[in-house]
């Protein structure tokens, strides 16, 4: 059983503002039934001062999804649209006395629905049709913008946190590399803006092999920086050893992998045989990356190159 705060339980068992809102002036819909949660937020806005006079929700989801939706309506009623847009998912979680880490995506869903409803009222095209960035996690329909906002609003610095807050990477795992890139870039920007301690910023590579939602909850010890003393030749030898260890498993599946080049922390490999076009190739690359990082004691980035490169 989840440890829900009393307020989460109260807002689930006795939700306020559940149901349809007739003649809503703005509607925001996020999530999907296939993803396990979805929220339809309806707001009524006074055109005089753009104040939200009423709000209702319909939610498909777990206890904390329903509680977060209800809390959101309570928070925004009486606020102007500009005031409402200053709310972040953390405000929703705080209002409820906190949410279990694995459930933070429920508050993010509320935050995203609010943005969608306001955009709908203002006649703007909601960004969720992925104009602002590529759809990164196809399983849960998460785009770059949503990840960036969640990372910034909550100062996320690990892939596990990104999965808890957005669900991205939580299913097939093929988007791990893309999400890592966004997390790394966003953290770097936050460091540059003085919003994040550089020591905490995420660096891609050296990530654990397991998909984020299956990772241990305890922090993972950073790799020992032993490789700084390794020469390039030593690195190449170590990489070849790791690939040799992994080769039997790859060959069992009818594939193979060979080292092409090493540039600092970037390891170029060529996947061949059944690994080419394999839907799980990205997972395999992640696995190789994890093993290499472990062996070299430094974060590395494994980059598959196509034949001829």
């Amino acid at each position: 059983m989840w440890e829900y705060s009393e307020k989460v339980q109260d807002y689930f068992f006795n939700p306020k503002n559940a149901g349809m809102l007739e003649d809503a002036s703005g509607i925001g819909e996020v999530g999907a039934i296939a993803c396990g949660d979805a929220l339809k937020l309806m707001i009524k806005v006074d055109p005089e001062d753009e104040r939200i006079t009423d709000a209702r929700f319909q939610t498909f989801g777990c206890g904390s999804a329903i509680a977060s939706s209800s809390a959101l309506t309570e928070i925004i009623i009486g606020k102007t649209l500009d005031e409402a847009l200053k709310i972040t998912n953390q405000d929703i979680a705080d209002f409820l006395g906190g949410l279990p880490p694995e459930k933070m995506h429920c508050s993010v869903m509320g935050y995203e629905a609010l943005r969608a409803a306001v955009a709908n009222y203002r006649g703007e095209v909601w960004e969720d049709d992925h104009e602002e960035g590529a759809l990164l996690c196809k399983c849960f329909g998460v785009d770059e913008g949503m990840i960036e906002r969640a990372v910034r609003n909550n100062a996320l610095t690990t892939m596990e946190q990104v999965a808890y807050f957005t669900k991205a990477t939580g299913s097939c795992g093929t988007c791990v590399e893309g999400v890592e890139t966004v997390l790394e870039r966003t953290n770097a920007a936050m460091v540059a803006e003085g919003l994040l301690d550089p020591a905490l910023a995420f660096v891609a590579g050296g990530a654990p092999v397991v998909p984020a939602h299956k990772q241990r909850r305890s922090p993972i010890a950073p790799p020992q920086p032993s490789s700084s003393r390794m020469t390039t030749v030593q690195k190449i030898r170590a990489i070849e050893e790791v690939l040799e260890e992994l080769r039997p498993a790859l060959r069992n599946d009818g594939g193979d992998c060979e080292l092409v080049d090493v540039e600092e922390n970037r390891v170029m490999v060529r996947m061949s045989g059944a690994c080419v076009n394999c839907q799980l190739a990205a997972v395999t690359v992640q696995g190789i990356q994890g093993r290499l990082a472990e062996r070299l004691g430094m974060p590395v980035r494994v980059i598959p190159v196509t034949a001829g490169q």
Binding site: G19, E29, I33, G36, G61, C62, G63, G170, S171
Partner: protein, 400 residues
Amino acid sequence: MKAVYLDNNATTRVDPAAVAAMLPFFTEQFGNASSMHAFGSDVGAALRKGRQQLQALLGAAFDHEIVFTGGGTESDNTAILSALETQGGRNEIVTTAVEHPAVLALCAWLEKSRGTRVHYIGVDARGRLDIEAYRHALSPRTAIASVMWANNETGTLFPVAMLAELAHEAGALFHTDAVQAVGKIPMNLKDTAIDMLSLSGHKFHGPKGIGALYVRRGVRLRPLIRGGHQERGRRAGTENAPGIIGLGVAAELAKEHIEEENTRVRALRDRLEQGLLQRIGNAFVAGDTENRLPNTSNVAFEFIEGEAILLLLNKAGIAASSGSACTSGSLEPSHVLRAMNVPYTAAHGAIRFSFSRENTDADVDHVLEVMPAIIARLREMSPFWDGKNAVQSGFAPTYA
């Protein structure tokens, strides 16, 4: 409010008779069965009785075919790892996509760390095994086929006797994870080709922390845990005497009640299931209703989410479980429901009710009384429901 416990596939209450039988072995009869004095020999006799009680429940030919372990997971691990060592040159495993994590996580680890090839046989929409794929996957490279007897989430039974014979035709050993089946359906292992079987005490009113691996006489076993000579060298460690004695009593009681399980308990399950389907629309049963444990019902309610249902059930004093993503901390519905391709409109709203002989008609009445309101309440809040119908059109249920 009386609590209604319908989560017996998760665990059961230890039968008071089993507890009573165990208690003296914590206090007066605390001896080590290996000791050369009266304290030890009393315990030794009690352990033999426990072994024979379990032998009787399984219909095993010999009591020494029973190896006591720390539970179902240890038994599964022992069986599979042993087969990879004793089946010289054979290093493939055939199993199913819907096994318990005790088997699946071990197989995934073997694939990764030892390069073992594992074949995962799929199921159809009712959870029935793809027998052709199973037959096709068996080969001279197969060390062991490991197929669960009954699925923990849906109760679906696999034809393990026949699957064991197919495995033998390929020269492979056959193991079944029968943790959910033992004590719920009659068994006569001596009339089957099953080589190894895993079971767990706490699933049939025995204590937790005790289980067993049945190993057919003549099948070689490499121990998972090495040390002492206990269990004929097949599982080292001082015997868990209270656990074995409790398990023995639970086995004897299960054998006595096996007919009741398949008549009265089955009728309770069926009445609940039919009652729910009559009272609540857009709901269907997940699993093979023709070949199913008598105690298990998995009902999927469309357009709502399982954790929310469980929270409201819990408030009404009813304990059940769900294969929904949100209850487990995972982000996806259970691997069993996904393997069955349960429609996505319902996969998140699947609720498992699992009975035992301790359940009564009043329990069923209580669930039937509160469930329609719970489902209606959550559907009213769901954006995919307009009060009477699904908002999304074009949905055609594929289940009866």
